[in-house]
């Protein structure tokens, strides 16, 4: 490969890579081409590493990169792909009903009393029309993040001495000393949402993910789905449009409506993200009905671990709002000693209450 021909080949490869799902924009492609100025274009391993360093941006990209590289340049003498524990690309799953396209325009003249009824009604019992309306109402929620003390300070009447402003004051007025003071400010505290998407949670999963999307737009948040395995959907939920965000999340979640192994998936979360920082000092909300098919002892151990890391651990159970509910399912019974609060989560109103609970946590 030489000159223009080589360049076309490289850019073509970048296109193929983008097609394979690696988000490499023009800036990365440019870096890739520039990197090869400093390497040997004739050596497959140099081309391999230049592309991997410039075009990839997260561990999930690496297996796709390896596959695309082999497909484009052939196997040749490129280095063996490093063994990685990178996540496999997600398969398509129909988590949202339909294709994520927005439904028919909402009827804006719904009587206030209808809204009131909808607020209290169990999400599982909604008609398709009410469901659409619920989405509109979810989008109107205004989540306020919980707060923690920050390092930064701001001027105040009481508090610690502010040397900077005191000095400035002395310079400006020539007066001996008028003491200026400052206090600590507050910053939003991280929220972690863990949403059970197993079969038994089917009626609630869509609404809860939409709820997570609304929260993610206002609060620093990490969202993962629990089922037979753990899937992180924070990136997908960052999209502004709820339909697109939910469709992207659905594509990422491969185990929708499967069974639940809460203990194992919670462990996966803590190993992968939680212990390293995502759960540290955060308000963690687990949305699940607590039907545990795995070992309840494992779940209890993981919750104990989570309790030591997190600031607060809240468990939202859609069934907890029903009359006659007793927390006797194996999972929830094992979890109960390690929770700060067990909350209902079956209706818009209870989700509202959950937001309030998170804000005050």
């Amino acid at each position: 490969m030489t000159g223009a021909g080589a360049l076309t080949g490289l850019v073509g490869f970048a296109h193929a890579l983008r097609h394979a799902g690696v988000a490499c924009g023009p800036e990365r492609v440019h870096a890739f081409v520039r990197a090869l100025d400093h390497l040997d274009l004739a050596r497959a391993d140099h081309v391999y590493w230049a592309g991997r360093l410039a075009l990839c941006a997260e561990p999930g990209d690496l297996p796709r990169y390896d596959a695309a590289f082999t497909a484009w340049f052939g196997d040749g003498d490129r280095p063996a792909p490093p063994r990685g524990r990178a996540p496999r690309p997600g398969r398509l799953a129909a988590l949202v009903d339909g294709t994520g396209r927005p439904g028919p325009a909402p009827d804006l003249r719904v009587a206030a009393s209808d809204v009131e009824v909808l607020r209290r009604k169990d999400i599982a019992d909604l008609t398709p029309a009410e469901r659409r309306h619920l989405r509109e109402l979810l989008a109107t929620l205004r989540p306020v993040p919980p707060r923690r003390r920050a390092h930064r300070r701001r001027p105040a009447r009481t508090g610690r001495l502010d040397a900077r402003r005191t000095l400035r004051g002395m310079l400006a007025t020539g007066e001996p000393v008028r003491l200026a003071r400052h206090r600590r400010t507050h910053r939003p505290r991280r929220v972690v949402l863990l949403i059970d998407v197993s079969g038994s949670m089917k009626p609630y999963a869509d609404a809860l993910l939409r709820f997570a999307h609304v929260v993610a737009r206002a609060v620093p948040v990490e969202v993962c789905t629990l089922g037979t395995r753990l899937t992180r959907v924070t990136r997908q939920l960052r999209r502004r449009d709820p339909g697109q965000a939910l469709a992207a999340a659905a594509r990422a979640v491969p185990d929708h409506e499967g069974g639940t192994r809460l203990g194992e998936t919670l462990k996966a979360f803590l190993d992968r993200w939680g212990q390293r920082g995502a759960a540290r000092g955060a308000v963690v909300v687990i949305c699940s009905d607590g039907w545990e098919r795995g070992d309840p002892a494992l779940l209890a151990a993981q919750l104990a671990r989570l309790r030591r890391l997190a600031h607060r651990v809240l468990w939202v159970n859609p069934h907890a709002g029903h009359d006659g509910y007793r927390p006797v399912q194996s999972g929830i019974a094992a979890a109960l000693p390690h929770l700060d609060r067990l909350l209902a989560g079956h209706s818009l109103e209870t989700l509202h209450a959950l937001l309030e609970e998170v804000r005050l946590a």
């Binding site: 988000a23 990365r28 870096a31 941006a57 040397a163 310079l171 390293r276 540290r280």
Partner: protein
Amino acid sequence: MTPEELADGLDRVGYLPDPGLATAAHLALAMHRPLFCEGEPGTGKTSLAHALARALDLPLVRLQCHEGIDASQALYDWDFPRQLLHLRALEAAGPVDAEAAEASLYTRRFLLARPLLEALERAPCVLLVDEVDRADDEFEAFLLEVLDENAVTIPELGRVAAATPPLVVLTSNRTREVHDALKRRCLYHWLEHPDLAREVAILRRRLPGLTGRLAGQVAAAARRLRELDLLKPPGVAESLDWAAALLALGREELDAEAAAVTLGAVLKYREDVQRALSAGVAGR
């Protein structure tokens, strides 16, 4: 310089990079691009920066990130206590002209250079921005500005620009997704634990008194520990600690008894120690 020559240079200071890492460091140098290193704790991200500094014979400037870090902790700050004293001294000496006094207060003499400013002033150097995933989004945006320009403007003093851009190594343990805008300006490298042969070589390089046999045993045991389902699997740093502990005790072999008394150098959770002991991995 080629990637292979850089690899040799790193090798000479006791850091054994694989070809990917050597290429990454080579490109970071040649393209003046920050190198973004991600990977499990203990895969050698931070020590890469240290090794690069030694191999290239450059000073190392380290910025440790943490939650709530801001510009005055990363870039520069004014030394207020000293400024106050200086002002007091001026006043004691006689009547003070406010403007002249202010001008004398905001000079380089009273400026405290924090790591980023220090790196720009000392460049060429290696700037290590450690655990950038711990900082906040706002800090990432701020960092972006400094890395793009290789310069900062201090209102009272003017612009400070680096003559040569520092070689920047950013590390992340991936506790949080770092913003794409930052990653886009960097070369991205994902570090894995070294393979057995490389880990043995690292152990022997760093601990000259270590026999090949003991190094092999420690590296193999560390690998087995990584395959167990531990809360904190040991990194290379831990296997180094382990081998050093065995050396300090004058052990020549990693048997069950030696492992039992030194396991605290490798595993830092009670649950992990119990699991390792019950699996019998450490003392095979």
